[in-house]
Symmetry: C2
Subunit: 454 residues, 2 copies
């Protein structure tokens, strides 16, 4: 028998980790709901045509496909052979695989909105906290199964939504105790205007790709990359001026207006950034013209959340506005804006900052000792009262040595023990031990529940 194991890039979450993850999920979920977002859950599996072609050629390869049922059975040899032949001839893979595991939450959300747009009330504000799967090469912090945590508003062009999303980020990070986080904001329209200033919108992609690397490679290498990508020196000068814009949000908005020619894109981008930053007015919200968010489908405001600087973690969330969520599924004209929390990284940040609340780390609160038939009967009765009072309690499963029962409490990190021996039973009393402080007191059984948790 081979030793059991789990697939590379996947994880078991034991009790302590689940409790900490649940704390993060519950904090985020609570804020989403306070802001009027409604929960949605879509299946793990989607039809393969829903997913393929949505994430680029590289993405397609990273989608986990599910083998059609029966193809691994010997008795379906002919069917299997025929399916494979088609795959090998490059005709179709659908006889081999018709379903796949979802790769993100956005495409299934788009599919859901496209399927249900006649019944939904717009603006539709949904949040979704579910696992996704990617056949990426696993490495530190990158898993093949991980949880995404998204909130989107679709069917509204109002900047109120951007304001709300900024406040959601702020409330969640404050609730989690992440003082010092930063929320960077930019607009894709500013990047469009920069490209226009540098000789045309066709430079947009080249400029964006290069700028996106600034954090990693620094200004000089970005300039080299711009040269390689065919930009001329005077254009690169403008980009350098652009990247060096600094100061308060107000100063940055003034500087960018001076640098860019007054095109529609520039005017709109500046107005959007001004509205959002002035309405929210948070010191954590920082205009950052170097923020580009890759080559994706964003068209307006874009966000990126960064962990407090004392932990070197980088991005812990991001998002932005898009023009067309469901066009790919035949339903045009549904614009939206959304954000995402990087839950695995937030977990690591809280761990590193030692910021998980102590009570998240306690499972069972009280262990009642099992010291004989009559004693454990009294203990069981008391335990049911504790549970009614909301106190998580266990009675040790068998009458055995004190030591063994203490050890169990210690290993499980249970903070209190209640001991009812024959003496206590006769006197109608119980000994309550605070196992962390090492103190103990004797109370009447009737009072025990009050003593444990006030």
């Amino acid at each position: 028998m081979t030793k059991p194991s789990i697939p590379r890039g996947t994880r078991d979450f034991g009790p302590e980790v689940v409790r900490k993850r649940q704390y993060i999920f519950n904090t985020i979920r609570n804020v989403f709901e306070l802001y009027g977002f409604q929960p949605l859950e879509t299946p793990a599996m989607e039809n393969i045509e829903t997913l393929m072609g949505k994430y680029g050629e590289e993405g397609d390869k990273l989608i986990f496909k599910i083998l059609n049922n029966g193809l691994d059975n010997k008795d379906k040899e002919e069917k299997t052979r025929a399916a494979l032949e088609k795959v090998l001839q490059g005709k179709t893979t659908s006889d081999l695989t018709e379903r796949a595991l979802k790769y993100d939450l956005t495409i299934p959300f788009a599919r859901y909105v496209a399927m249900n747009h006649n019944q939904l009330t717009f603006p539709f504000k949904r949040y979704q906290i579910q696992p996704v799967w990617r056949a990426d090469n696993p490495q530190r912090g990158r898993y093949r199964e991980f949880t995404q945590c998204d909130a989107d508003v679709v069917g509204s062009r109002s900047l109120l939504n951007e304001v709300e999303l900024v406040n959601i980020y702020h409330t969640v990070f404050m609730d989690l105790g992440l003082k010092g986080y930063e929320l960077r904001i930019n607009s894709r329209k500013i990047l469009t205007a920069l490209a226009e200033r540098c000789g045309g919108a066709d430079q947009m992609i080249n400029i964006t790709i290069a700028i996106d690397k600034l954090d990693k490679i620094g200004l000089e290498k970005v300039k080299e990359e711009l040269v390689v990508r065919g930009l001329k020196n005077d254009q690169i000068d403008i980009i350098e001026q652009y990247l060096k814009i600094d100061g308060s949000n107000e100063e940055k908005l003034k500087a960018i207006a001076d640098l860019l020619t007054s095109t529609d894109a520039a005017a709109e981008g500046i107005a959007e950034l001004r509205t959002v930053t002035e309405t929210v007015n948070l010191k954590e919200l920082i205009i950052d013209f170097t923020l580009a968010r890759g080559l994706n489908y964003y068209t307006g405001i874009i966000f990126e959340a960064k962990a407090p600087p004392q932990v070197k973690m980088g991005s812990i969330g991001g998002g932005g506005r898009y023009d067309d969520l469901t066009g790919l599924f035949g339903v045009p004209n549904i614009p939206g804006v959304g954000i995402s929390f990087g839950v695995d990284r937030i977990y690591d940040v809280l761990e590193e900052m030692n910021h998980f609340p102590p009570d998240v780390q306690v499972g069972t609160q009280v262990l009642l000792f099992n010291l004989g038939e009559a004693e454990s009967k009294a203990a069981y009765k008391l335990m049911q009262e504790l549970r009614l009072a909301g106190i998580r309690s266990e009675l040790f499963h068998e009458n055995t040595k004190f030591d063994k029962q203490f050890k169990y409490a210690e290993k499980k990190g249970i903070p209190y023990a209640i001991i009812i021996g024959s003496q206590e039973l006769a006197a109608g009393e119980a000994v309550i031990k605070d196992l962390r402080k090492g103190t103990q007191l004797k109370v009447t059984m009737a009072d025990a529940a009050c003593y444990v948790f006030g």
Copy 2:
């Protein structure tokens, strides 16, 4: 473009459904934790050898297998051809698929315990609420992706665990308002003793299979089946007497002691049932000797929970004791006992009995109307106070007609509207409308938060 759809047997859960499901999950989770059970989560994917051969030949076919990465790419033609050739020759499927979606929570739990048994503290009490996947033919109430909800204690032979699990069932069903539910209990040892009484333990399977059908086909057909399965008339007479045992739990225990010869199995089974039923002493806990729970791995006490009789739903949970959780993974001697809640059926029962609490059905609690720039600014300020007070609130996304904003609240089932028009703004007031009662009152803005939810 084909109309988007989801795979057969899978479901999207919209906001109302997610909230109701979360209510059930949270109720169960809360009780599990009060009883000292700790959460565990395992990946959706397992290595295929972890799952195959654990659920019988039929089960193997119903496992969703994941295609190895790259096999659907044309450029890996040779690799794909070789993989397929091996499958077709019946050699191995591992070149085609190495991973599969989990089929239940028990085998991944066993795999987890086997992998971590040196670090775990026994008895290990875990609960797990996660989706599983089965390539079954979908039908009413049967899905290809559904959530299981299990609690198990492993590493303990104490009957205290059975008592605890009975109390968990009772507490959960009371918390959910399912008065009239029944928890049937039997012991596999009683069935063993019956087989012994009928001429030998080798009859156990034949008797169990037939008895298991009693609910569906009735006594006469069960007797016919026993004939077909080779049982003699005098044996069938004993089984008939067995199936007809009736009365209180006490009377049943007396009758079964009279009917069975006093073997070890009979004595142990009767003692177990007596201990558990007398310790718990609940009218809902009913000894039912016709309960068999199929041909699975149970060895001691078995349970089945039934919905209140006014809803024709049958089983809403089940479980039992087993001798050996992890032997299949090379770690012997870990006995345990576990129960499971049938969440989809419990959902249907609560729906049919109209038993979901009203507040589970409310998403956003307050819609603030958007009636102009200054007005909406005041409304936003008030909204942030409401949210701080824990009230789920939204500001309508744009300044538009009253009607449209009312309609949005109505469609979304939002119970309160707060209206701040130019008059109210000037007076520092707000109108609060109770949209369900059709009443309204005017309050100062400072008091609005208190008025909405007391």
